[in-house]
């Protein structure tokens, strides 16, 4: 460990780490600074977590010079990868680490959101647990705030603890300007242009939940982050109308009938909105299911 200079070419500083992050399947990792790795404070507690901790650390910091058989070497190599991952989870929530991951995020190195309405928003890697070897890595989309499985199987086997449960949330705490604008745009299942009742009822209910949240936020004077913040009620109506118009383009029918239907639907929509208000008010008395109706209102 002391013979730092015995290697013939000591000018490279991160041989192992370079190899590690550039090898196939490790595209999600960023390179940890030498300084960070050599600060013992950053490694607190990891010696109990990693087998052959000292050798593994030597390997990661390129000072490994133990003569051993291949089997041993393989074991240490595995430990080194594990150690690197665990340090990585800590490193990426540090200032340097966050900015490195941010660069990768901007380049969409972690892939893009598969949800159609997210318009290929870049993803972030995340763990579902901070304890190693429990859950593989998942991808988080900041636009729809949901988690997705990685597309490729070589990523699906990476341990989620190497990224941790907090990183992606901390990133947006540190860089609030990067929080993407939210959109209420969504897919509505249809049969020959008509909404399916069960799904449409669920959509209406969900819209109620959303409006409730936006009202709460507005009361607290917090930005909701949706486009068209001011006119949220009108906003929704417009959306619905747009949808309907789109419908009528898609469905082949006489222009006259289409126009009539459009008008009718708009009317119904308006009245439905009204009705929902009434339902919220009358509901608890009618059925004694206060809690659910409360959540609608």
């Amino acid at each position: 460990m002391d013979d730092y200079g015995t290697e013939s070419d000591s000018d490279y500083t991160s041989y192992w780490r370079d190899w590690f992050i550039s090898s196939r399947g490790n595209e999600y990792f960023c390179e940890i600074d030498e300084e960070y790795l050599t600060d013992r404070f950053n490694l607190t507690g990891l010696n109990t977590e990693v087998q052959y901790y000292q050798y593994a650390l030597d390997l990661v910091t390129d000072v490994f010079d133990l003569d051993c058989d291949d089997e041993m070497r393989e074991t240490i190599e595995k430990s080194a990868r594990h150690l690197y991952g665990l340090v990585h989870a800590r490193y990426i929530v540090s200032t340097r680490g966050l900015s490195k991951m941010l660069e990768k995020y901007k380049k969409a190195d972690f892939g893009k959101c598969p949800r159609v309405m997210c318009n290929s928003h870049p993803l972030l890697p995340m763990g579902l647990s901070d304890v190693p070897s429990l859950k593989p890595v998942k991808l988080y989309c900041a636009r729809c705030e949901d988690t997705y499985n990685p597309k490729s199987s070589r990523h699906a086997s990476i341990d989620g603890a190497y990224f941790g449960t907090s990183f992606h949330n901390i990133l947006f705490q540190v860089y609030p300007a990067l929080v993407p604008a939210k959109s209420a745009e969504r897919y509505v299942p249809r049969v020959y242009g008509f909404k399916v009742h069960a799904a449409a009822a669920l959509v209406r209910w969900q819209n109620g939940v959303r409006d409730g949240m936006r009202r709460r936020l507005r009361k607290m004077d917090v930005e909701s982050g949706f486009n068209g913040e001011e006119d949220m009620e009108d906003d929704d109506d417009e959306e619905e109308e747009e949808e309907e118009e789109e419908d009528d383009v898609g469905v082949v029918e006489g222009g006259d009938a289409a126009a009539r239907r459009l008008l009718q639907q708009q009317q119904q929509q308006l009245q439905l909105a009204e009705y929902r208000g009434i339902a919220a008010a009358v509901g608890p008395a009618g059925l004694g299911a206060d809690s659910q109706m409360g959540s609608v209102a």
Partner: protein, 364 residues
């Protein structure tokens, strides 16, 4: 799997076995040969007749059965005659006259035509059956969303008009659409599947167990055993978005602490993955009846028929309704037999409310 000619060399089966065409069902020849099924496509596809002949592997003019030779012949003999008009004059040698560029135009027309027929076919009884077999085999992939637990998806289009968007995958568990993971599907037109298929599939096979497997399903079963067979809005409650709801929403946390809704970066999209704990709340028509009737939930037993009937009658009621009180009353009686309150309400002729009920029901 298909009822088509069966020879592995038919145009349809070779088209369906192309890379990236894994989502396509093999449209049966009977379906294509029925002119009714092709209504209106003539104007949408260039070189319609030739394209149709190519799909059905029929030789133009003379109806011999040598299916594979057509292309080769055309290749060889393309120089013999200059243009199509000349060829047409020469009856039997007509198909030899097509030049190579012509052939590629026909080929792409045929693909377009096949796609448009396919859009209609998969909504027919035979087609949707075939697609359900493909679905069972997992040909369409699974939902990428973590909380959907690998639910199998269905191919859908976002438009019925070709050339607008590529094929997407509809997840019945979260009722959302996703981009297929493999880029080879980004050349497949979404209109070849159409907007209707996904939703129609769920309505056609209401008994499908959408949530596929795993411990999560088992856990869910204990929670929903009671309403396992409850019908809501014409679907089994357990099949309405099983991947959504309270414990299927991602909860952002930092070091174990939930991020507040009031934070700038706090959760804003949870509604999208939310669902009522008690799904009966979505039965809007019944709610309406409760609220406007004086008797309570005494008619639970006719729940199922009721929500089914709404399907059939909604159009009738919509047309009858506006001024025609008698007509609407009749429709209402058929629909909600035993709901005296409903009838009473209509007698009072509270017109906005009248239309209102229809608004909720005719959403279908």
């Amino acid at each position: 799997m298909s009822t088509s000619s069966g020879t592995p060399e038919s145009w349809i089966s070779s088209f369906c076995s192309l890379l990236g065409h894994e989502y396509f069902a093999e449209v049966s020849e009977e379906f294509i040969e029925d002119d009714f099924n092709l209504t209106g496509l003539q104007t949408q596809v260039a070189m319609y007749k030739e394209a149709l002949e190519m799909i059905l592997d029929v030789e133009p003019e003379d109806d011999d059965d040598e299916e594979d030779e057509e292309e080769e012949d055309e290749e060889d003999a393309s120089g013999d005659l200059q243009d199509g008009a000349a060829g047409r004059a020469h009856g039997e040698r007509r198909h030899h006259s097509r030049v190579a560029s012509d052939l590629s135009v026909i080929e792409s027309s045929a693909e377009m035509l096949y796609g448009l027929i396919h859009q209609r076919f998969i909504c027919s009884r035979a087609g949707i059956q075939q697609m359900s077999e493909k679905y069972e085999l997992g040909h369409f992939g699974v939902c990428p969303r973590y909380n959907c637990n690998q639910t199998r998806t269905l191919p859908v289009g976002l438009s019925d008009i070709p050339g607008e968007d590529t094929v997407k995958l509809f997840c019945p568990s979260c009722l959302d659409v996703y981009v297929p993971p493999n880029s080879r599907f980004q050349t497949v037109d979404g209109a070849f599947f159409g907007r209707t298929f996904g939703a129609l599939f769920l309505l056609t096979f209401p008994e499908y167990d959408l949530s596929r497997s795993g411990a999560e399903t088992a856990a869910q079963l204990t929670r929903t055993t009671t309403d396992d067979l409850v019908m809501i809005d014409g679907m089994y409650a357990r099949n309405i978005a099983p991947g959504l709801g309270r414990d299927k929403i991602y909860e952002p946390k930092i070091y174990g602490f939930r991020v507040s809704e009031l934070a700038r970066s706090g959760p804003r999209m949870q509604w999208l993955r939310d669902k009522p704990d008690d799904m009966t709340i979505l039965d809007e028509a019944r709610w309406f009846a409760y609220e406007h009737g004086e008797h309570g939930p005494d008619s639970d037993d006719d729940d199922d028929d009721e929500s089914m009937n709404v399907n059939n009658n909604s159009t009738t009621t919509t047309t009858n309704n506006n001024n025609n009180n008698n007509g609407s009353r009749h429709a209402a009686r058929r629909r909600l037999a035993g709901h005296a309150a409903q009838r009473q309400r209509r007698q009072q002729n509270r017109s906005p409310m009248n239309v209102d009920a229809n608004g909720a029901e005719s959403e279908l």
